[in-house]
Symmetry: C2
């Protein structure tokens, strides 16, 4: 599983930088960058009042819109549609609804026509009935060739270089970096270690039901229909409590789905840093916030100042966006 | 939370031993000890065909009956009964059933009289309606004085010294050690780090429902009535998949509730070690297996030889049992 490294991923650089080098070269020299570095310096300097022991240096990040792009739809939906199309080649009778037929035809508008119910139908159909290991291999295979529907760029290359640098920087400074995302846990694990350097046990996400069975003599964990956990909104602090059991000291998100996680983490004692990636760059990426059908950011935008959260201005703070 | 170290726990020793010392001094020089050391040597020697990269050196252990004692009832039930009694002092109206009344009176027989339904009633009553942090502090406080109902020994001292040594030895050899237990995740986290050296993110267990709320301005995770996940039998491999995302190479358990976890983990490619603590020592601990109402071991006993699992004979393999 995940043995074939994605070609685009292999271009991403996680090299440890010498201490005198700029740890965040793709960040412009703005207040945002200064505040991040000041926070890391303060929490890792044993002489600082804000020193935090390495065991408590927990940093968590949302994935869609925070570590990689999410427009025009979550990339996991693109995968789900592709898999429905491949499943229908073997067995057209699985296309039991207009939404599934649209998904199989690559018709994004049709796939979205039934709102959330339709999306769940596409995801459940495509994400169940196979083993966890077969599923992760299938995602990994898909990512080798999947391209963005608008730009034609490889999906796996649509990760944010500044955030890759931030993840590496934090790890170099003794932080444990976690993903805490509404995305599917097995979907993300298929690439999180190769692309973000985040191992499977540090990926927290939504999960479908699963079951254990010995199939033809082989002990197997199967992905079943149905949803076991939704790691979004208040689900994010709950997921962190259940899986990590500690309150993170650094949290990054991009939408109001991250609000509760930011609120909970930054309310803890001692130094805390909350950050929100604000999509302000229509030229190099996308510009959207309050009215976006995906990654909507409204309350976070209204309250980030009063709460002391760092609003990352993608257009102004990031020198480069893509690797 | 957990700031007051338990007095008995502070006596436990986790010192790193020099390489030439016996890493398992409380284990007799039997085949069991030889097989454990041979497995660790083979998986950590880069020249060995069975070498395993540190990232894949995942070791998981059941808790009740594997790392600490479990007779005459799970110690978590003793805590639950004690908490029901304290809750009833404040508000006697919570004692709405005979089982809860028995629990409040410390009447173990009465608490068990209604079988599993009664136990769930006692656990749900005592494990909900407070925040996670208040709950963990309450467990920690209880453990400072809780004694065993039969022996009067401190509960926190009823951990197995040979297993403490095994946990330390494995960590010294680059293994990550996890608990995977049917016990409650927040209950175990209250002592797992102090007593076993296992941090909260490496404790996997059963979980009640929880919710996130801002209470009097304080973001809080509350423990609610109801059960979210049962980490027993087939739930153990599922819990490991969800939280670790890798198949362990070493698994320790003691009852048929660990069967599926042992089966799944030892079926993986490469070197694997499954072990079962067999309670054979009525003099120093307890002797029980097939017919025990708690920690019943039957299928594991029948199949351990054929499956190559190591059956640990507590009476013969352990020189000391208690710290
Ligand atoms: Ca997001
Ligand atoms: Ca057990």
């Amino acid at each position: 599983m995940r043995t074939r490294l994605l070609s685009a991923a292999s271009l991403l650089c996680f090299a440890t930088l010498p201490a005198f080098a700029d740890p965040l070269p793709s960040w412009n020299d703005t207040d945002t960058k200064s505040r991040i570095i000041a926070f890391v310096d303060a929490t890792t300097d044993t002489a600082s009042d804000d020193y935090v022991t390495p065991a408590d240096r927990i940093a968590v990040f949302d994935n869609d819109g925070t570590l990689w792009a999410e427009q025009p739809v979550y990339f996991q939906l693109l995968y789900a549609m592709d898999r429905v199309a491949r499943m229908a080649e073997d067995d057209p009778s699985i296309l039991t609804s207009d939404v599934l037929k649209a998904a199989a035809n690559g018709d994004l508008e049709g796939a979205l026509a039934n709102g959330e119910d339709g999306l769940i139908e596409i995801v459940v159909t495509s994400h169940s009935g196979l083993s966890v290991s077969a599923f992760e291999q299938d995602v990994s295979d898909w990512l080798e060739t999947a391209v963005h529907p608008q730009t034609g760029a490889p999906i796996i290359g649509m990760v944010y270089q500044p955030m890759l640098e931030l993840l590496s920087y934090l790890r170099d400074e003794g932080f444990a970096t976690y993903i805490v995302s509404g995305g599917g846990i097995h979907f993300m694990r298929a690439f999180a270690e190769d692309v973000y350097g985040i191992p499977p046990q540090q990926v927290i996400g939504s999960a479908g039901k699963s079951s254990y069975a010995v199939i033809d003599g082989v002990p197997t964990i199967m992905k079943d229909p149905g949803i076991a956990f939704v790691d979004d909104k208040e689900g994010k602090p709950i997921g962190i409590d259940t899986k990590i059991g500690k309150r993170p000291i650094l949290v990054g998100g991009n939408s109001d789905g991250d609000f509760e996680m930011l609120e909970w983490a930054t309310a803890g004692d001692g130094p805390r840093l909350g950050m929100i990636v604000h999509h302000t760059d229509a030229d190099r990426e996308w510009a959207y916030d309050r009215d976006s059908h995906i990654g909507s950011l409204s309350r976070g935008l209204d309250e980030s100042d009063a709460r002391g959260w760092l609003l990352i201005d993608m257009a102004g703070d990031w020198a480069n966006i893509w690797p």
